[in-house]
């Protein structure tokens, strides 16, 4: 990553105002959002929105034309263009033809996208943002740090300083007083403005209506007081029918600010009277700026379903640490990364796409049903395709692609890491440039004997009725072989023989998450060959990231690359794949496996691994098993927020991974439980390592280790 980008991340991480405000907001948001959606079938609602917005994205030309015809029939002038420069010039022309000297604006991301304000100001026209947050930003000469809450990074003291200068009076940081000052300051600007510029949350083709959603009431004034109104609207805001307003208005305020509805919604259909009786001079600019290219892309067309609620920012564990400024563009957060890659250019997303840890939290809440992490992965893939991998990664992945060499290196690393482990099972400090890796977290020492060697020494009972292929994954194989041993003990008890195909190798996740899909595809082929060689009832894994690879990603990797040769086998493998806890739950339910009864093992808390919860949706099975075995489950705060591991993420962005880990450790400790369970060896590596350096007496364990101790003899 470029130093400049790293510096901006560092600056954000050390901005206590920003991180404090975002943290507080993100915590409140989750609770309030859930409350706002009470009694609403969110899946049905977002399915409806995705269908309506998807339809519009597939019919942009037709809907633009219908919108234009219907709005013009009601007296509006509609201008459609793909070129941002034409938008600016059109507005300037209207302004000059009408002798406009002063403009008031209500919030519009589209005009920010095309840097309209500075353009008009250069032409000698006064431009005033009227949304309070936008005005604060304008006075401060800054850019918004959040799509819905532009000034969330600023304190009331900073705002008081800004306003004091503006009104030439020393103001205190009393917020209601500051808001009153803003009201008084903005009023004359509204009253003297001869043009109002707004954005638009929707443009309805059927009726030629535009819909504006605000809380402050500024859009009502912007569209009512000046004699000219220009609405600048991205064509992704087009919807077909008037009735399409309802589902979007149901989701937008709930997802954006956890409100049932914003204070004001205006539906403007054509010219309306001014207060002097004349008719409004109404212009609507439908701006394309690469949106139709996006809509034509078989994968990225999904991003057209965005309703700009910014909930993907609000639930993102990274965004709350770094805020919006590190994104460097108008659109921020998960969806912002995608929009920047298109509205700007793919290369502009090169750095910011790396911020995504792929935890999937945003995908769960997106009211447009957009697979945001999936699209960010696709950006990675295309970037690598376009620009190639950084040399270092390239050499690493070429190793991973050769199982013998790769595994040989891991064995060698076991010996090499011993001096750092100093007889413990942790590496607490690494020298020099590697020191970041052990900053706040100890790394597991690489096992003296990998699971593949241990496996050969395990004697399993003869004549077991079923057979499972065990896919260990690199971490269990080389760092935590005891987890594999525990899994075999459990499955044997249930009458399942475990086989371990030697030729299995890395699941390809590290390569895939870096955009190296060819490498990941090679890993997939090697593993498919190895895992399907033996006919078994199950392919079981105790690593959710690996499970997701086997169950979903081998297929999607081939599909992304347009490779069909191995698809049938990939599907066959997926059909047999099951995660450890789900399999064990099933065995217990079927009475094939019995956990010790009536035990009182004390309290335990459970950390949800991203892939197990949000891709496999298997978060209940481990909890039920732990409770059944005699633990009392105490849920931690934010149990399903990413621990910051994210595979190689913790190596690439340790400065972000470390505070995520710290939060997780605090949440675990706050439960008072002496044990925390999880289903992912990667999370174990991160959290166990963190707990080791923290020194708290909390045992960090994989569910498989715990259950293996609780089997009825």
């Amino acid at each position: 990553m470029q130093q400049e980008f790293k510096t901006s991340i560092d600056r954000a991480l050390h901005d206590a105002n920003l991180t404090g405000a975002l943290e507080k907001f993100s915590e409140a948001y989750k609770v309030n959002r859930a409350k706002a959606y009470e009694g609403i079938d969110f899946e049905a609602l977002r399915g409806h929105i995705a269908e309506r917005k998807g339809y519009a994205a597939a019919h942009l030309k037709e809907l633009s034309a219908r919108f234009q015809k219907n709005a013009e029939a009601k007296g509006a002038k509609v201008f459609c263009t793909s070129d941002p420069a034409e938008v600016r010039e059109y507005i300037l022309r209207v302004a000059q033809e009408n002798g406009v000297r002063s403009i008031v604006k209500s919030k519009s991301m589209a005009t920010e996208e095309i840097h309209l304000n500075s353009f008009l100001e250069k032409e000698g026209i006064e431009v005033n943002e009227t949304d309070l947050g936008e005005w604060i930003i304008q006075l401060a000469g800054q850019t918004p740090s959040h799509m819905v809450m532009p000034a969330i990074h600023m304190t009331k003291e900073e705002v008081a300083d800004l306003f004091s200068k503006e009104v030439e009076e020393r103001l205190t940081s009393d917020i209601p007083r500051l808001v009153k000052v803003a009201r008084q300051e903005m009023r004359p600007k509204f009253l003297r403005a001869d043009m109002g510029i707004s954005g638009g949350n929707m443009a309805v083709a059927e009726t030629g209506s535009i819909v504006l959603v605000t809380n402050e009431g500024n859009a009502r004034l912007v569209t009512s007081l000046p004699r000219i109104h220009i609405a600048v609207i991205g064509i992704e805001k087009l919807v077909e029918k008037f009735s399409d307003i309802a589902p979007i208005l149901k989701a937008l305020p709930r997802s954006a600010t956890a409100q049932l509805l914003t204070s004001y919604v205006s539906i403007i259909s054509g010219q309306t009277p001014n207060s002097d009786g004349s008719l409004k001079n109404l212009h609507i600019i439908l701006m394309d700026n690469k949106r139709s290219e996006m809509a034509a892309d078989p994968m990225f067309k999904e991003a057209m379903q965005c309703i700009r609620c910014a909930s993907c920012l609000n639930v993102c564990p990274i965004f709350r640490l770094v805020g919006g400024h590190v994104f460097g563009k108008v659109y921020t957060g998960g969806i912002g990364t995608i929009l920047t890659a298109w509205y700007d250019e793919l290369k502009s997303s090169e750095e910011i796409q790396g911020l995504c840890i792929q935890c999937g939290a945003c995908k769960d809440v997106c009211p447009g049903k957009i697979d945001i992490p999936g699209l960010i992965m696709e950006i990675r893939r295309r970037l690598v395709k376009e620009q190639g991998l950084p040399l270092l990664h390239k050499s690493i992945y070429s190793l991973v692609n050769n199982r013998r060499v790769f595994h040989g290196m891991l064995r060698a690393a076991s010996l090499a890491s011993r001096p750092f482990a100093k007889g413990t099972r942790f590496i607490r400090h690494l020298p020099m440039f590697l020191a970041d890796l052990t900053d706040g977290r100890s790394l597991p020492a690489i096992a003296a004997k990998p699971f593949r060697d241990v496996f050969k020494t395990i004697r399993q009972p003869k004549g077991l009725p079923e057979k499972a292929v065990f896919y260990a994954g690199c971490l269990i194989d080389f760092a935590y072989p005891e987890m594999g041993e525990a899994l075999i003990r459990i499955l044997n008890k249930a009458g399942i023989e475990v086989v371990f195909p030697e030729d299995q190798t890395c699941c390809g996740a590290p390569a895939r998450y870096s955009g190296a899909y060819e490498v990941a595809a090679n890993n997939a082929v090697d593993n498919i060959r190895a895992l399907l060689a033996e006919r078994a009832d199950y392919v079981v894994s105790a690593c959710p990231t690996c499970t997701v690879a086997l169950d979903h990603e081998f297929i999607t990797t081939f599909e992304s690359l347009g490779e069909t040769k191995w698809l049938p086998q990939a599907r066959e493998l997926a059909a047999r794949t099951i995660d450890f806890s789900t399999l064990v739950k099933r065995l217990v339910d079927e009475g094939r496996l019995t956990l010790k009864e009536g035990q009182q093992l004390g309290t335990i808390t459970y950390h949800d691994s991203c892939h197990l919860k949000r891709t496999m949706h298997a978060e209940q099975a481990p909890r039920q098993l732990l409770e059944k075995s005699g633990y009392q489950l105490t849920e931690m705060f934010e149990c399903d927020v990413c621990c910051g591991m994210g595979g190689s993420y913790s190596l690439k962005l340790p400065e972000i991974s470390a505070p995520m880990l710290k939060r997780k450790l605090t949440n675990i400790k706050n439960t008072g439980a002496p044990v925390v369970a999880m289903d992912c060896p990667g999370c174990v590596m991160q959290i166990r390592g963190g707990m080791d350096q923290d020194g708290a007496p909390v045992r960090v364990r994989h569910t498989v280790e715990i259950l293996a101790e609780q089997l009825e003899d």
Binding site: A21, F25, K74, T130, D131, L132, G133, I136, M149, P150, A151, M154, T155, K156, V159, I175, P176, L178, V179, K180, R183, R187, F190, L191, V204, T207, G208, S209, N215, E216, G217, N218, R220, L221, T223, S224, L225, F242, S243, I245, A246, L249, K250, T257, Q259, L260, L261, T262, S263, Y264, V265, S266, I267, I268, S269, G270, Q271, T272, P273, S275
Partner: protein, 182 residues
């Protein structure tokens, strides 16, 4: 539906009242304006947009109060303390008022003054937005305005603050026997 509306609207800081007749509502208005010390001074007066409600009452009772104006201009509205207009629908599930605000004076009195009093026929209640959208006709109403509580912002430190650009108080008066288009 009224009870649901009241709970939801009060949840977003609106004040909700219900009257049987226009005369009852008028009596409330007269008291209210007196309590708010409405008078013929800048920043203290009241502007009233034309409405069927005005046709249903003895208008003199309002007009006699010093500082109540019926000819609304933007300059007048900008200096008013109280604005009175009639709205057309109420959506129970979100506590939202909906107004055909095509006439500019309705927007001026509901946006610029510090207090907005919204008169509404109880028959304008609808369960939710889809039910209202089915009735709404954007071909006839160029400016449909939804109002849910007073103007609000949370742009400074996420602290909810009322009355930034629009009214700081929204007073809703349901009238059972108002009749009208609904």
């Amino acid at each position: 539906m009224y009870e649901q509306f009241k709970v939801k609207a009060e949840g977003v800081s609106a004040e909700v009242h219900r009257f049987t007749t226009s005369a009852d509502a008028l009596a409330f208005l007269v008291d209210f304006l007196q309590e708010e010390e409405v008078t013929d001074q800048d920043g203290r007066y009241c502007v009233v947009a034309d409405s069927p409600f005005l046709g249903s009452i003895d208008r003199k009772q309002l007009a006699e109060i010093p500082g109540v104006f019926f000819d609304v201009t933007r300059e007048l509205a900008a200096g008013a303390k109280v604005g009175i207009s009639q709205v057309d629908w109420a959506l129970a599930d979100t506590g939202t008022l909906v107004q055909d605000a095509t006439a500019a004076d309705k927007r001026l009195v509901s946006t610029l003054p510090l207090i907005h009093i919204a008169m509404i026929a109880t028959s304008g209640l609808r369960p939710d937005m889809p039910a209202w959208l089915a009735d709404a006709d954007p071909d006839k109403a160029g400016y449909l305005a939804m109002i849910t509580g007073p103007s609000r912002t949370a742009d400074i430190e996420r602290v909810l603050t009322i009355g930034v650009h629009g009214p700081a108080r929204l007073v809703i008066c349901f009238i059972d026997e108002l009749g009208g288009p609904n």
